[in-house]
């Protein structure tokens, strides 16, 4: 180990190749976050529905997704869906669907606690002043709920950046996959994967720190 001859040039030589993968990683994470935010809203609305059947569907999706491993879900979407529906899904699409569904299940909880976190009295005050339930939701509940859900949503983005590395397993050409491919040709896994870990860290860490700061400021208000 101590006699190891570092050959970082093997990494620098493929810098553009890896950065291309990073770009892919960030694009996948961003698209997935948007889809997960929409999916999460749908699940949250199902959860809070007046109709028992819809509630049951919402709760079931949430529980199943939250209580099975994300990797298994990805494999399932990639390998099982084509068998069941007889369609070919591209690895990239499968990754985005799988990740979005997974995050949606968590984001729905974020929304729900955001909405339920608005004290009942705030709605009653609106009601007594004559606001309709829709006006009260739009003007009183939603703005407060959104403020509370923004930091957790940003945290979800950080999580997505990390989870998108699972795309490597179904050969989506994001940064981790490219690292695997590179180390298979340069025989330098130490330099390659260390570099990749550092890249992830210096993207996720500042984001996480920023979110923590942001949350503290919101609490102070």
């Amino acid at each position: 180990m101590f006699k190891y001859q570092f050959r970082w040039d093997t990494v620098w030589g493929s810098f553009d190749f890896l950065m291309g993968g990073l770009e892919m990683t960030l694009i996948i994470s961003a698209i997935t976050l948007v889809l997960a935010m929409i999916g999460g809203l749908i699940i949250a609305l199902l959860d809070m529905s007046r109709f028992r059947v819809l509630r049951w569907i919402g709760v079931s999706i949430g529980e199943i997704v939250r209580n099975t491993p994300i990797l298994v879900q990805l494999l399932w979407v990639y390998y099982v869906l084509p068998i069941v529906f007889g369609i070919r899904i591209e690895a990239l699409v499968a990754l985005i669907i799988g990740l979005a569904l997974y995050q949606a299940a968590f984001i729905s909880e974020v929304y729900r606690s955001g909405i339920q976190g608005v004290p009942k009295g705030h709605r009653e005050a609106a009601q007594v002043l004559g606001l309709t339930p829709i006006q009260s939701f739009r003007r009183i509940v939603l703005p407060q709920a959104i403020r509370m859900t923004l930091p957790p949503l940003a945290s979800n983005f950080v999580q997505l950046i990390k989870f998108s590395s699972l795309g490597a397993v179904i050969s989506v050409s994001e940064i981790t996959r490219r690292g695997m491919e590179l180390s298979a040709t340069n025989f330098r896994p130490l330099e390659t994967f260390t570099f990749i870990a550092v890249v992830y860290f210096f993207i996720c860490w500042p984001l996480a720190m920023g979110i923590r700061f942001w949350e503290r400021r919101l609490q102070a208000r």
Binding site: H122, A125, A126, V128, L129, G130, Q135, Q144
Partner: protein
Amino acid sequence: MSASPILLADSVTKRFGNNQVLTRVSLPVMERDVVCIVGPSGSGKTTLLRCFALLEAPSEGRIVMQGVPIATAAPDRQVKSAARAVRSDIGMVFQHFNLWPHMSVLENLIEAPMLVKKMPKDEAVAIAESLLKKVDLSDKRDAYPTRLSGGQQQRVAIARALAMSPKVLLFDEATSALDPELRREVLLVMRQLAQEGMTMLVVTHEMGFARHVGTRTVFMDRGEIVEEAPGAAFFDAPKTERAQRFLQQFEDE
């Protein structure tokens, strides 16, 4: 009584599950009345007030405003539309203020007039500013509620209720959540409103206010109105034993 009541609880019973909180309570409120509802906790005072505020529907009986039923156990379309029509004529001030924390003081005041009454913004702002002056908080116009003391928040809440120019103002233990030294400023505003002729229904533990400002005192216990007397008469000569026992707790004050 010659005149008809502006607001009336007509034999209102309220149950939550098996728990009967109000039993056939009838209470007329006349114009310019300041009715103070007192009684031990759990006596149903707040529930009665919430029925008047249309936040709770009676299980039996009705709430009537100026002769028109606005709440019944099974409201038909007519009752519902009557309720919508008078909704903002009944204002309410809550124990915990319930100001909207994401809006400034001014925004709290102009929200309902603009949204419900479709009032133009400059008119709503002008009214809000004059109301803030009235509750002596003109300098807090752009502050956010969490920056204010409890007493200041409650005065803003009163101004917010007044911005809809209600015909009746309900107070649900408006000073109970405040430190003693902050109660006075809220009670002074309430007293001023009473002197200006505002019709008020006040659930309170402030016996001084009930005695000196209230035109009538209603004593409730276990979901019923036990005793009712004009102004100070209730305090000087309580008729029932339950009321006498209740008032004894305050003798040291």
